[in-house]
């Protein structure tokens, strides 16, 4: 198998003379040097120009000194998938040459001119920034100066792209959240660099930003922030967690929003506990859920592994809980700062013995918000742990988003009985309604009929300890029935069916962005396919129908083991033979061109696209 360089260029396009608001730019720095401020301000400035834009941070798993790359894609058409960069800003001596090589002929290279051994490429436009010179009269100590130096490329790049200085200034102010002191320290450098660029550089490349009006009703937000906000509007009252990349910022944001919105008479209407590890975090979650709280945690792969035993307890004792898994790359410690979709089958069946858990898949910031509150509804209605599987890409990167819809319905707290409503002879695990979901009571309820003892051991309808075979069968059969009810409670798939399309593609989560772009691209070549985006497991009838109605199915997922394809084949064996898998995981979000190449043979052999690698495919 040949393997692509992650930043491999797309095939050279026919040398355009003007690329307006349609390019990809990469900034290479070392982490811990303060470049994030410059990068995010540049992103924000493009956004403020009304141009659709998206940023992806490709950063190392350490704190300071290792190479880090920030990718910005501007696209007037609104595409936001990762795209190999055409412009590189090379400020890291360690990756200077690597970064320069990444650029295709016709691209642009913007160098820190003070770095020794700058690479020479005749086939790209090169600009060199005299950083020291521009910083010469900056009043700051040496270390702060290093930090401010990043402002030079912000100024130069903005000018080269045609972003007016005042737009940059506004972006910088937004970035600093109104802290004038910081703006005052940084802006002069930006201004100086912008003006130097205007005065000294001759624009020789086709890339620029032109004002448009495609962003004015949008926000810029990370998926973790959106998820946090959704959780807060979902009424989360209890959070227990243990720090782990890339989920930490989700909990941080929950705390920020709760502190802002959910304080009553100076007291918090919530608790957040940093546990001693993930075992304790989920233990607290199960305790709080049992007591009646809307309780959540956020973690990533290693945390999920440590939560296996308690998830099984939650399933079997039927305790609501919400677990966000912001996926990074596994197995094992893996790549803590890269993105993937490798925890799906593990989360779906987490815990020894039989058992299945609902798994929600947000794709966008909007959905991260929506599932933030919906996950609690599902968990409390179904009385079971619910996973929300997002990923580093959605969680930590900055996304354009429409404004979020306020939850359209009251909270669904599920079948909870209180006080006098608790019938005589109440049985905690009795299937009163025939949907597999029993009624529960909460500790603290004064009606003694409601008292029951939660346990992970075999039990009868009254929650009493039982080793009887018939009790076991009755209980586990009811749990299976409950899971069928859950099919109707979780978000339904999003389907875009094309008449007469032979191929149906199934995906979930953030891969949708590259897939939609590829789809539009292929449609221009009259290669059409239907698209189903799973928004949750377990699947419902619509998924079955979609598969039934197409000759060929391709499941695209960002893991090696074809996890969702495997689940579909196992659960719909009658259609398994036509369920093909496109599974690829290298830690980086997909590009349109990857998807095109991978889909080509599934669409039609004659479309097979050269020059790009194919994913590992099973069956």
């Amino acid at each position: 198998m040949t393997v692509p360089h992650p930043d491999a260029a797309p095939p050279p396009s026919a040398g355009p003379t003007s690329r307006v608001s349609d390019f990809s730019l990469m900034v290479g720095t070392a982490n811990g040097t303060g470049s994030q401020t410059a990068n995010t301000t540049l992103l924000r400035a493009i956004f403020n120009m009304g141009v659709p834009v998206h940023g992806k941070n490709v950063f190392p798993s350490n704190i300071q000194g290792l190479p880090t790359w920030f990718h910005i894609r501007a696209s007037a058409e609104g595409w936001i998938a990762r795209q190999a960069p055409e412009i590189a800003v090379a400020f890291n001596p360690a990756t200077l040459h690597q970064d320069a090589e990444t650029i295709p002929p016709g691209g642009v290279l913007i160098l820190n001119g003070d770095l020794a051994g700058a690479p020479q490429r005749d086939d790209v436009t090169t600009y060199s920034i005299p950083v020291k010179e521009l910083m010469a009269d900056v009043e700051a100590t040496g270390k702060i100066k290093d930090y401010l130096a990043n402002m030079t490329y912000l100024g130069v790049v903005s000018q080269l792209l045609g972003i007016p200085l005042d737009v940059v200034r506004t972006a910088l102010e937004q970035q600093f959240g109104g802290r004038q002191k910081l703006v005052d320290a940084n802006y002069p450098v930006v201004e100086k660099a912008w003006q130097w660029s205007e005065a000294n550089l001759e624009k020789a490349d086709p890339y620029r930003i032109e004002r448009m009006d495609a962003t004015h009703d949008l926000m810029l937000i990370t998926g973790n922030d959106a998820a946090a906000l959704g959780s807060v509007f979902g009424g989360v009252t209890f959070v227990s967690w243990y720090p782990i990349t890339p989920s930490t910022s989700l909990v941080d944001a929950v705390k920020t929003h709760l502190s802002d919105l959910r304080v009553h008479d100076g007291k918090p209407d919530w608790s957040i506990i940093q546990a001693e590890d993930e075992l304790a975090a989920i233990g607290m979650l199960i305790g709080a859920g049992w007591a009646g709280a809307r309780a959540m945690t956020a973690t990533s792969g290693p945390g999920i592994s440590l939560m296996a035993e308690f998830t099984g307890l939650g399933y079997f004792a039927e305790v609501p809980a919400v677990i966000w898994d912001v996926q990074r790359v596994g197995p094992s410690t893996g790549l803590p700062t890269r993105t993937g979709q490798g925890d799906v089958s593990f989360a779906y069946t987490l815990g020894h013995g039989d058992g299945r858990h609902p798994v929600l898949f947000p794709s966008t910031a909007e959905e991260a918000f929506e599932f933030g509150w919906k996950a609690f509804d599902v968990a409390e209605q179904a009385q079971t742990p619910v996973f929300v599987l997002t990923d580093l890409d959605l969680g930590m990167n900055t996304w354009m988003s429409t404004r979020f819809d306020y939850p359209g319905e009251p909270m669904k707290r599920g079948k909870v009985l209180h006080g006098d409503d608790i019938p005589e002879g109440f049985g905690r695990y009795r299937d009163v309604d025939g949907d597999g979901i029993p009624y529960r009571t909460l500790p603290g309820d004064p009606n003694p009929e409601g008292a029951w003892f939660a346990r992970g051991t075999g039990h009868d309808e009254d929650a009493k300890y039982s080793e009887r075979a018939d009790d076991w069968i009755a209980n586990t059969t009811r749990l299976a029935k409950k899971f069928d009810t859950i099919r109707t409670l979780v978000p339904a798939p999003s389907i875009d069916q094309v008449d007469d399309a032979e191929l149906g593609v199934i995906c979930f989560g953030t891969t949708i962005h590259a897939i939609e772009e590829a789809r539009a691209h292929l449609a221009k070549q009259d290669a059409r396919f239907s698209l189903l985006r799973l928004r949750a497991l377990p699947i419902n009838d619509e998924v079955e129908r979609f598969i039934e109605q197409h000759d060929r199915i391709a499941v695209i997922e960002m893991n090696r083991d074809a996890q969702v394809a495997g689940i579909l084949r196992a659960e719909l064996p009658q259609y398994a033979a036509k369920i093909a898998s496109i599974a690829h995981l290298d830690g980086l979000p997909y590009t349109r061109d990857q998807i095109r190449a991978w889909l080509a043979p599934h669409l039609d052999p004659s479309l097979a696209y050269e020059g790009d690698p194919v994913a590992r495919e099973t069956a």
Binding site: M219, W270, G287, A288, A291, G444
Partner: protein
């Protein structure tokens, strides 16, 4: 004595039998049964409302016992070693409830040592009982970490490791209520239980609670080994001789009592001396060390202090339990959402 108590209602309008649970499935004579009985008695005497308290436990014979008391209270039989985290979640979500937790020496000293210490560090308001028998009862006779160095058991051999002292561990982790008791000393145990239930933070009582299956005098006709055919796998012990509960009359502070256990072995219980100052953490550690050096088990309230905030204080919670908040306080307004979005 028990008869009338079972019939005469207490302040809560309940009779003693209302505090009972399902019949015990533990061995006859197991120390854990004595503890359960004293819990029932204390709850009755205090006029405790069953709904004001939750029972919590891990996994083990000891952890089974919450089934056998306070049948009108909610409870959670959690996972092996992980009860403290479940307690933390439940008692934070509803800080109006009291927690009464029962664990074992394996449950809290082995797999659960980390959670034991971290819950104490947070000072969650709960009574934390360790029914300590030096072995894993439910898995049949392996050493637990509280077993003495050099202890010989028929099955497990000789223990080469020093014991974990649960009271010393609790002290080092910042516990403000640390006591040791003996399952057979009903009066002292009841007093400690009452004090613990009134405590505002984590109240740890390490209760020496003998295991009757831990009975290994090989040659005695009374012995466990006698009845056990040596080829039957230990997982399915053939025979546990039923025993009487060990009970102990009250004895004086400062006095040492030698108790004979079911297997004929002896344990020296030293009731803490009058005038002992339980407010000095360092002294408590030293006193424990001295008892150990003397081959005694010191019982009584070893340390007491109530200055440290409990977890509810640290979290700054208000009067209403989180689980009792109305929807208006759980979901901020539409305007609030707009305001937050405007900042993005």
């Amino acid at each position: 004595m028990t008869r009338p108590a079972a019939l005469i209602p207490n302040a809560a309008g309940l009779t003693k039998s209302d505090y009972q649970g399902a019949p015990s499935t533990l061995c006859k004579g197991c120390g854990h049964n004595s503890v359960a009985n004293q819990i029932i008695q204390v709850a009755f005497e205090l006029g405790l409302k069953p709904e004001d308290l939750i029972k919590l436990s891990g996994i083990g014979c000891s952890s089974k016992s919450p089934t056998y008391f306070l049948g009108m209270s909610h409870g959670f039989n959690a996972l092996h070693g992980r009860m403290p985290s479940v307690a933390t979640g439940a008692l934070t979500a509803n800080h109006k409830l009291r927690g009464l937790a029962v664990s074992g020496d394996g449950d809290s000293g082995s797999i659960g040592l980390g959670q034991f210490k971290h819950v104490i560090r947070r000072n969650l308001r709960m009574v934390y009982l360790i029914e300590n028998n030096g072995v894993y009862g439910l898995t049949k006779g392996q050493f637990s970490p509280t077993a003495e160095d050099g202890l010989k058991l028929k099955y497990a051999g000789t223990n080469p490791f020093p014991p974990v002292d649960m009271c010393a561990e609790a002290l080092i982790s910042g516990a403000g209520f640390v006591a040791r008791a003996f399952a057979g000393d009903a009066k002292q145990l009841r007093e400690l239980l009452k004090a613990a239930l009134a405590y505002h933070g984590t109240a740890v009582i390490d209760i020496v609670s003998p295991c009757v299956a831990f009975n290994n005098d090989d040659d005695s006709q009374h012995s466990y080994a006698y009845g056990r055919a040596n080829e039957v796998p230990l997982e399915d012990i053939g025979w546990v001789p039923p025993r009487e509960d060990i009970t102990l009359d009250d004895h004086e502070p400062g006095e040492t009592r030698i108790i004979e256990l079911h297997d004929g072995s002896r344990i020296a219980l030293a009731k803490i001396e009058e005038g002992y100052d339980p407010s000095d953490r360092s002294a408590a550690l030293t006193r424990i060390g001295r008892a150990e050096a003397n081959g005694e088990v010191i019982t009584g309230l070893l340390y007491y202090e109530d200055a440290r905030p409990n977890l509810t204080d640290s979290l700054g919670l208000g009067d209403t339990a989180l689980v009792d908040l109305p929807e208006e306080r759980l979901r901020p307004s539409r305007e609030a959402l707009e305001r937050v979005m405007d900042r993005h």
